[in-house]
Structure formats: structure tokens, C-alpha cells
Symmetry: C2
Subunit: 218 residues, 2 copies
């Protein structure tokens, strides 16, 4: 299966996971940076391959086969991120960019070798879960977003759910890193902002960021 197909299936999977947005060709097209027409075309093509169910004007739904494919690609992506992060001094955004390409050129055998080498990790450096070779995911449902966190409470960062370069640059500059701890010093409820204490810094984050930083009680 081609890179275009793998990316399409992955985009649908992620859209169904993270967003409330409906999974129609237009939304997928926007994520992939292609035209709506191209997305409709691809949807039909993948329906013929039994990777998804397609009916005109309806939402796209991955079949079990399509879901397996998406999880396999995501597994490889996150294993690469974990490996590159461990071995090399590279930013979260850089390892994401490399993994985005490497994920499509990695045999199941190599993925397994990487997983083994890392001790079969369940999470990547963003805190995103790594599916196992069967496509099974360990979910961590104790995590909450910073926007829901309690004032005065100390938390451990469990997930940075983004692939925006600027966000990761901000993270790198402010010790916002998977498994670091922070304390919520103030919730500005009306302004939807959150003030945190991390290391020796006090930072005020707006909702754009507090909704994608997930934490666990410590």
C-alpha cells in the first residue's frame, strides 16, 4: 500500500479519535493538504479495497482492515519517535518530522526490533500510546487536560497532544516535557487561562495550550 493510502487511513483514524469534527472528505483533505476532490476520489478507491466504508455525502468509516493499517502505521511512527528521542538530541518536532517519513518505510520486522530494543514501551515521548504488533492500545484514562486541573495540585505531564512546531518550541523552552511535574497555581476561569509553576518558572497558558497538555495526579 502506498504512502498516500497509509496517510489517508491514518488521518481518518486520528480524526475519529481526537476530534468531534465529522470525518468527511473535506476534513481529511484539510489535514492532508490536498483538495476535497482528491479526498473523495481516494475514499472511493479505498472503499474498493475494503479499507473503509463509503457512501455519498456520509462520514468515512474505517473497516477493521483499515483500522489495523492505521494502527500499524501509528505504531511505527511512535516507535521511531521513541527511538530517535532516546538516541539523539533532537527536538520533539524534529523527531516527529523524521518519523512522519520513516513510518512508511519500516518493515514489521524492524518495528519489532525497535520495540524490543526499547523494552516494548507503551508510550512515546509525547505520551501518545504505542499500539502493539496486534494493534492493541494501552489507554490511560486517568489523565485530564490542564484546563480541567485543580488549583494547588501537583501533576505529572502525561501527554502533549499536538504536532505543531511552535507548540513544541514553546515546550522545549519551558521544561514542558513528558513526565516532568508541574503545579497549577491558578485557574483563571473567566479568561480560560491556567497559571502553572514548572521548575523555577511561572507560566500562564491560554486554552489553546491547556487543552492539549494532559496530566496525571502525582
Amino acid at each position: 500500500m502506498s504512502v498516500a493510502i497509509e496517510n489517508f487511513v491514518k488521518a481518518i483514524y486520528k480524526n475519529n479519535m481526537h476530534d468531534i469534527k465529522d470525518t468527511k472528505p473535506g476534513n481529511i483533505a484539510k489535514k492532508l493538504g490536498i483538495s476535497n476532490a482528491a479526498a473523495t476520489d481516494m475514499a472511493k478507491k479505498l472503499a474498493a479495497k475494503e479499507l473503509l466504508n463509503y457512501e455519498k455525502y456520509q462520514e468515512l468509516q474505517l473497516t477493521e482492515k483499515g483500522t489495523k493499517m492505521a494502527l500499524n502505521v501509528i505504531r511505527k511512527h511512535r516507535l521511531w519517535e521513541a527511538l530517535l528521542f532516546k538516541m539523539f538530541d533532537m527536538s520533539l518536532h524534529d523527531i516527529h518530522r523524521e518519523a512522519e517519513l520513516l513510518e512508511h518505510q519500516t518493515s514489521d520486522l524492524l518495528a519489532e526490533k525497535i520495540s524490543e530494543y526499547l523494552g516494548h514501551p507503551k508510550f512515546d515521548p509525547h505520551g501518545d500510546p504505542i499500539p502493539n504488533a496486534l494493534g492493541e492500545i494501552t489507554t490511560k484514562n486517568t489523565s485530564i487536560s490542564l484546563s480541567e486541573a485543580k488549583e494547588g495540585q501537583t501533576y505529572m505531564i502525561s501527554r502533549l497532544m499536538s504536532d505543531d512546531k511552535e507548540f513544541f518550541e514553546f515546550c522545549a523552552q519551558n521544561q514542558i516535557k513528558y513526565r516532568n511535574t508541574l503545579t497549577v497555581s491558578k485557574q483563571f476561569v473567566n479568561n480560560k487561562m491556567t497559571q502553572i509553576l514548572i521548575g523555577s518558572n511561572t507560566i500562564v497558558l491560554n486554552e489553546d495550550f491547556t487543552k492539549i497538555i494532559y496530566v496525571d495526579e502525582n
Copy 2:
């Protein structure tokens, strides 16, 4: 530049290095598993991109730009081989197959990180030289092929110049490995065969193999 272009340029480079065969579209086509017509097409296309010089019915010659591109891809291939070989228990042929795909999806930055991690190695696990970031190669001109080796002399294996699966399976089964030592016990000059002592085994190799196994005096 596309994978097809990188592979084309790489095939020309290798053809000019290793073989006496003339570098015409047909030979390149054979190596890449495409039709002669496709190779002629590509040659014209790459000439327009100034990656090679093309004149009807003449040999294909890489320009400096084309050579740089080939060396950059080869560098990434061999760095991946060195990394995978060091980290994982995989056969020489398997790491070759993975590297063949990964080489096209590796940024210069990542290549440099891999090189750094490995201590900027000059040779990969086949003994093939790894070009540096500028495309410079350290050549080792003291090596000779086993077919030219002296009876009674002990050598160190310096290069296994092949990408044939069966050859590498044979190597794996017989301790024929980069930097292992062997002794030439007999040269069967008329039959073009060579008998070697490696570990506790005695093996007779025909010319197909003795021409691609390179050794250094010890």
C-alpha cells in the same frame, strides 16, 4: 527529488564504480528492474535537471551535482546499515533491505546524528566506505579480492561487495564477516577456485564468491 531519481542516479554511480560494463540505459534498467524505454526517458529527464550528461546512444555520465546526490544517498544507506547492524540482531541482507528504503526518507540532519552516534565510521558492515557529509570517500586501496590472494597467507576480510541474499546467507553460515580473519590454504588456479580456512572450517569457493570477497593482509 523523488525515490525513482535517487535510485537512478545511485545505479549510475555504482555502475561506474564497480563494473567495467558500459553505463547505458539498458544496464541501468536491468539493475533497477525497469524497461529500457523507462531508463531512456529518465535519462533525458535527469539531463534536463543537470544531474547527468546525456547524448543519444552514448554512455550516461553523472554531473558533479548528480554525483553529489548519489553519494548523499549512499551515505545514508551505509549509515543506516551500520546503525541497524550495531543495534539489532539482523542479517546483512535484512539490514540492506531496510536501508534501501530508509535511505530516501532521511534528512541530512538525521544522517549526521546517526554518524555522530556511531563515531563517524568510515566503513559499513560490508566494508563499504561511508562518504562523509561533503561526499568525500576514504578509499582503502590495500585490499585485494580473494581470487588474487596468496596461498598460505592469512588475511582479514575487508569488504563483502554484493547485495545478493544467497551470498549473505552463505556468509552468515560460514563466519564470513567483515573483519574476521581467514587463511588461504590453496588456490586452484585452473579451476578458478580458492580454498580457505576460517575458524575451524575449510571451504572451497568458486570465482563468483572470491571476486566479491575483499581482504587485507594481516
